[in-house]
Structure formats: structure tokens, C-alpha cells
Subunit: 189 residues, 2 copies
């Protein structure tokens, strides 16, 4: 089949680059051999959406720390759990099409987005071959979505979601911070 042939070509090209893809596909082979296929609803059982950060330390940590299992919640993640307009789009889809009735914004301690150093960022872009013209054309802190501190950011996000004309006023929106070392949740909004 044409699409399968294409997939194989893509796969081979990637493997030649010595990428992590090979390792991931091997892990996947093992996973599917032991996994019992199951059909779940795409409507989350707990009728909640969680907005959180892309941080690697939250992977396989935030969900167990919240008691959430497969099928329980929609999870939205970006750098610094910020950018209200885009988060609101995903929340709207979750609320209007997928039965979500409650929203939790969960920031975390020691978030990289609260410690953005503009000069270091520019240098790293230069080292990676990004042109001076492109760098100069950006307000780096704003563009990358730097936040002042984790707690204020969560409070601001909760406020913006609640104030949105496309989010129903009856949907509760909570703000929490998770301690990235202990897993303890604290309600802040």
C-alpha cells in the first residue's frame, strides 16, 4: 500500500540519523504485545480538563499525584501552562464536544518559564544557527512566554479563563501548584 511504503521510507530515513525513534518503535513493539486492546469513550469519566506544563518531570507524575487514570481527564500542556487564547480553544472543545464541566490549571514549582534569561536564550538560538535578523525581530521574553512567577501565572490564567466570553460562567475553574519534588498539591485560586 502506498501509505505504508511512505511510512517505511520515513522510518528508515529517521533511523539513519541515529534518532531516538528506533528506540521508541522498539519499546512500542513490546508494549503492544502485552497490551489488551480496549475501547474507551473520548468523554472523560471525571468530566474535567487539566491545563498544565510540558515539563518532563510532570510526565508519569502529575496524573498519579492527582489520582487520574486513563480515560479520566483531558490534559492540555504547553511551556509554562500559559497562552490563554490557545488554552481556551482547547477548553472550548473539551466543554462543548466532550462533556467537560470543570477546569483545573496546575502550575508547578521550579518552572523553567519563570526563569527565562533573554541573553542566554538569544545565545542558544545563535548557536543553533538562527539568524540575527530573526532574533532581532522577536521580543524574546514575550515570544517564548516567560512568566514572572508560578503562582501569579496560575492565578492570571484562572482569571482569564473565567473572564472568557466563550467559556460558560457555570464551569468552575481552579488554580493549583504542584511541588515538583514531593508531588504535593496546593490550591491557589
Amino acid at each position: 500500500m502506498k501509505s505504508d511504503a511512505k511510512a517505511e521510507v520515513g522510518q528508515t530515513e529517521s533511523l539513519e540519523k541515529g534518532s531516538v525513534l528506533k528506540e521508541i518503535l522498539e519499546a512500542n513493539q513490546k508494549f503492544i504485545q502485552q497490551f489488551q486492546p480496549v475501547k474507551l469513550s473520548h468523554h472523560p469519566r471525571k468530566k474535567i480538563a487539566v491545563v498544565t506544563c510540558m515539563d518532563t518531570r510532570l510526565v508519569d507524575f502529575l496524573e498519579p499525584a492527582m489520582g487520574l487514570k486513563r480515560g479520566d481527564a483531558k490534559i492540555i500542556k504547553n511551556a509554562g501552562n500559559t497562552v490563554p487564547a490557545e488554552v481556551i480553544r482547547s477548553l472550548a472543545a473539551a466543554i462543548y464536544s466532550l462533556g467537560v464541566k470543570e477546569v483545573l490549571v496546575v502550575g508547578h514549582t521550579h518552572c523553567g518559564m519563570a526563569h527565562v534569561d533573554e541573553q542566554k536564550l538569544a545565545n542558544s538560538m545563535r548557536e543553533n544557527g538562527i539568524s540575527e535578523e530573526v532574533i532581532a525581530g522577536l521580543n524574546l521574553k514575550e515570544w517564548i512566554g516567560a512568566i514572572s512567577d508560578e503562582e501569579s501565572n496560575v492565578k492570571e490564567m484562572v482569571k482569564e479563563i473565567k473572564a472568557s466570553p466563550v467559556i460558560p460562567s457555570q464551569v468552575p475553574v481552579h488554580g493549583l501548584i504542584i511541588d515538583i519534588e514531593t508531588g504535593m498539591l496546593r490550591v491557589v485560586a
Copy 2:
């Protein structure tokens, strides 16, 4: 302490609404009692970022299906693994500040964003009290981020990320689809 007092107020208010928050905080108490605090780097061990969907069926499923553990990868999630500009912002933070050297866009079969019914969406917004004026002011399919089909969407996202002037040309960007029932990964770009 003032901030703790505030947190308690917020918590009590939420509990009165009969929200899921109480259940989550109880689960968290149990979690922190058995969890051994550990200090991890925010630089992902496998130097990868994964862009995927907020779907509830991917929770505690995508990561094990890819062999990814806590500390391995940055994970970005939104409705339909789409909206290039916002994803690129998070990827830039991951690449320039957190050591990411490879990107995987992972769509999934049976994605809700590939089956957006404009009329149903408008009706659901009405039932939730959103005004006709607000609804009429939106191009609903575009606003919600509807996609035509899962595979084309992944290919398009890979193309846009690769073409971005702020993403280094040497960073490999792969596109995959995960079967939401079996967990099988397929390389499509």
C-alpha cells in the same frame, strides 16, 4: 500564613460546589504519603519533545506505549495536536533552554477534532449559555481548530515545524499516528 489561608478559602469554596477537587486532593494525600521525593533535571533525558492531543484516552497510555518515563521527554498537548504557532513557541523553549534535539508529532486514530460538527458545536454553546452574538462572531470550525483527517494533520504540522525560521534546521521532526485502541505507532512523516 496569608497564602495558606487563601488556599484554604479557595478549597472550601470549591468543595461547596460539589466539584471533583475534593476527590483529587484526597488522592493527592495518599500519593504524597507513599512517594519518595526525588530531584530530577528539567532537561529531558532522551532530548525529545512530543506534540500530541489532549485526548483522555492518551493519558497513561501514550507515554508507556512509547517507552517514555518521568524525566524522559517534554510533552505538549492541545486539542488535535495542531495550532503551529503556539506549538512552535513551546518547542523553541524546549530546544533553546532545555536541551531538546528531536521532535515527534503524534496524532491518534478517532480524534474528535477530525469530526467537528459545526451545528452541534453551536447548539452546545447555546445550551451552555453562550450568546448568539458571540457564536455568530466566530468561524466555528476554524476557531475550534477542526482538522480534516488525523494523518494529513500530522503531516502538515511536521511540515510547518520544519519550515519555521525559529526551529533549527538540524532538528529532526517526525510524524506518527498511534492507534487509540491497540497502542500501535505508525510513522507517517
